[in-house]
């Protein structure tokens, strides 16, 4: 069988969609949304159980649901979608045929089998070990096997991405260097390969241990390596989500990066200083020295944090530049006020950016500080933090891209446009509230992964402050809002794919035109500000507000730590 070189040229966007790649992107995206649906249903059970006044699920179902929620969301939803993004970024954006589509289907099949297997095993109830599956808690072998199959499938996807980049270069489908968005995806892919290697090192022996072939696995060693996968993989999410921010800024505003040099260097910093981010999870563990913790938790002087702070400026900065170029130059913020707030592609992206920075970023640095971690480790603060990063940040960015991709890939109009306008706000604000109330409860000491904090009927029942119960109640209520927002997303996207008005498919060609370079950039930089002022004053002010919040919160945390028992 020869190589299928047919491309469909999208009549609206001009994108060249390699036929086999298009089908794979759709398949991965649909699988992702199914996982999001399952995870979302489980979220209702989990959140309403943590609301003491409701206390929905019995104890065994709670821990089962929590294990499945963590994996379906953090691993399956996110990674299926990321594979779709990798194929889109390499094949579609570079107007290149996807390398070895049949192998890509094999990868997809492995991922589906793995995800289904792990879910089935969890639902049987004897593998409620949480997604972290810390040894020596033991799950059924199928639990680990499913994860391993899924990881192998994802690894195949990474190599197909790289293969496609090689083909694109060799077949000269683009001129010059790869675009910034593809560069971001490449960053994610490289980190993913390292991450999956860590995953293999930890999960394969654990699988062998679960079937009795390995007798002992040191629990601390397990934690070091597991988090080598678990934390580094969050850097995949960050890189992918930021690539999507840049892409959406370009799609909605025609934005160009403020400078290729700064944005790309920031992506490189992620790769260079990823290091043993697993340290974040080991800050209060025995048997690990403080110097190791300090060096690794800070990614060698916080250079990965620096990278995120840079993107935090350059992404909105690129939007400001584009808007000012269109004449929205009044005051500091006309460019932002007049942004298309009713377009879910944009609003998702912007809420993702702000939520990720203010809620996720600041708290992440706080928690990842060696001593400050003493006050938050394993409290609800931790899931509070990561629902800000991986849900408000990553998930919402993915949702924004989906609103763009559904018409492009499925050639259907988005239905329920009115609901779609509001969906990012309902989900984004609901989820931000979920995060904040979890963090609030965690600050008051409420543990994570705990079916019942009241200790009812136990001799030493703890006395929680009333505020802790209040936080958990508010968590439950905001979870309902967030779940409704998530459900709206699924109804809109699935509904559009099935019932949306058909759009014309566009013509098919075997030789799409080459991707040409952007127009030179120098003139654009001088146009604004001119003598003495800054080119993006609004963004700069927003960045300073961010920094101020960061500094204040950070030092308040130290002050609070200073009041607790002396430890050394």
């Amino acid at each position: 069988m020869g190589i299928d070189r047919r491309f469909r040229i999208c009549p609206d966007t001009g994108l060249a969609l390699h036929r086999p790649a298009e089908r794979l992107i759709k398949a991965n995206a649909v699988a992702a949304v199914v996982c999001l649906l399952v995870g979302g249903i489980l979220a209702i059970g989990v959140a309403l159980t943590r609301w003491p006044a409701v206390h929905l699920l019995p104890v065994t179902s709670f821990y089962t649901a929590l294990t499945a929620h963590g994996l379906d969301m953090l691993i399956f939803w996110i990674i299926f979608f990321e594979i779709a993004v990798l194929y889109f970024a390499s094949s579609t954006l570079l107007r290149c045929r996807l390398a070895t589509p049949r192998l890509a289907w094999l990868g997809f099949a492995l991922m589906v089998i793995g995800a289904v297997l792990t879910n089935l095993v969890i639902l049987q109830g004897r593998s409620s070990v949480m997604m972290t599956s810390y040894v020596p808690l033991r799950a059924e072998p199928g639990f680990y096997l499913g994860l391993i199959l899924f990881a192998v499938g994802a690894l195949i996807g990474c190599f197909i991405f790289l293969g496609t980049l090689v083909i694109a270069r060799y077949e000269k489908t683009y001129d010059g260097s790869i675009p910034l968005v593809v560069f971001g995806a490449l960053t994610a892919c490289i980190i993913a390969i390292f991450t999956i290697a860590s995953g293999a090192i930890v999960l394969i022996p654990t699988f062998l241990w679960s079937i009795g072939l390995v007798s002992h696995f040191d629990p601390l060693m397990y934690r070091v390596i597991w988090w080598g996968m678990g934390h580094s993989s969050q850097q995949i999410n960050v890189a992918t989500q930021i690539a999507i921010w840049y892409a959406i800024a370009a799609i909605v505003f025609g934005a160009r990066p403020m400078s290729e040099r700064v944005s790309r260097t920031a992506f490189l910093l992620y790769i260079l200083f990823l290091q043993l981010a697993s340290a974040h999870h080991l800050l209060v563990d025995p048997g690990i020295s403080s110097s190791w913790k300090v060096f690794n938790t800070s990614y060698f002087m916080y250079l990965a944090v620096l990278a995120s702070m840079i993107h935090g400026l350059t992404v909105p900065g690129s939007i400001e530049l584009a808007q000012r170029r269109k004449g929205l130059t009044k005051g500091l913020f006309e460019w932002l006020r007049k942004a298309p707030w009713g377009n879910p592609v944009f609003s998702s992206m912007f809420i993702s950016l702000v939520g990720f920075g203010f809620l996720g970023g600041i708290t992440g640095v706080m928690m990842g500080t060696e001593q400050l971690n003493i006050n938050v480790h394993n409290t609800l603060y931790v899931p509070g933090h990561f629902h800000a990063t991986v849900v408000v940040g990553t998930t919402l960015a993915f949702m924004g891209l989906t609103y763009f991709l559904v018409p492009v890939l499925f050639r259907r109009e988005i239905i329920f446009k009115g609901l779609a306008r509001w969906q990012p706000y309902i989900y984004g604000l609901g989820m931000s509230a979920v995060s904040l109330f979890m963090m609030g409860a965690g600050t008051l000491g409420v543990p994570r992964r705990d079916w019942d904090i009241t200790g009812a009927g136990l001799p030493f029942a703890p006395h929680w402050p009333g505020a802790a119960y209040l936080m958990l109640g508010l968590l439950g209520i905001s979870a309902i809002v967030a779940v409704l927002g998530g459900a709206a997303f699924i109804v809109i996207t699935v509904g559009s794919i099935l019932f949306g008005k058909r759009l014309e498919t566009g013509e098919t060609t075997t030789a799409p035109s080459r991707l040409e370079r952007a127009a030179p950039v120098a003139a654009a930089l001088e146009g604004y500000g001119g003598g003495g002022t800054l080119v993006t004053p609004g963004t700069f002010v927003l960045a300073l507000v961010f920094l101020l919040t960061f500094v204040v919160y950070y030092f308040i945390s130290w002050k609070y730590l200073g009041t607790v028992w002396g430890l050394h």
Binding site: R256, D285, S290, I374, E516, L534, L561, G562, L567
Partner: protein, 178 residues
């Protein structure tokens, strides 16, 4: 849509950078250096640091040692759990196991104790409430930590590392007296 296009110059790392970016990178870098500096600073001047003392230990041996040492200081029992009142400065042991903490500690405000902490089975989480001090308890590792209580009160010891189906019931107690 130039973020989606190849850069106009192939050699992107030589392209110009404007002042906003340079300024922000500078500010952010300084902040990152402060963040880095705070951790060693607190090791020198702060009072709350995790101990670097830990030993590999066999859980059985740890349990035996804990019973022998803590046994000397038992002053009463509550709900079948001994209350242990070590003299200031002494070594004292705390065992985590599915699903209880053993024993109950009774410490004096302002005095220091060397706390030995380990688990006999799976991971557990030492979470002292409402003080909100949280430590990981790992089987096979004995953490030795000098603690100096600074508030009088009755504290709960909650397990905050998921440790199986009885996780939520693993609650102990610590007293701090004048």
């Amino acid at each position: 849509m130039s973020t989606l296009l190849p850069p106009s110059e192939r050699i992107w790392w030589k392209q110009p950078v404007d002042r906003v970016e340079v300024l922000w990178v500078g500010i952010a870098l300084v902040w990152c250096l402060i963040l880095t500096f705070m951790m060693p600073y607190w090791h020198v001047f702060g009072k709350q640091n995790i101990s670097n003392t830990a030993y590999h230990v066999n859980p059985k041996e740890f349990a035996a040692r804990a019973r022998a040492v803590d046994g000397k200081y038992v002053v009463r029992t509550e709900d079948g759990v001994p209350v242990v009142q070590p003299p200031p400065g002494a070594d004292v042991y705390l065992i985590a196991h599915q699903w209880a903490w053993w024993p109950i500690l009774e410490l004096e405000k302002g005095k220091s104790y060397r706390l030995h902490l380990s688990s006999l089975d799976v991971l557990h989480g030492f979470s002292l409430q409402p003080e909100n001090i949280n430590l990981e308890v790992v089987p096979g590792y004995e953490m030795v930590l000098t603690v100096t209580p600074n508030h009088v009160g009755t504290y709960s010891l909650v397990c905050n590392e998921y440790c199986g189906i009885g996780h939520q019931a693993m609650i102990g107690r610590v007293y701090v007296t004048k």
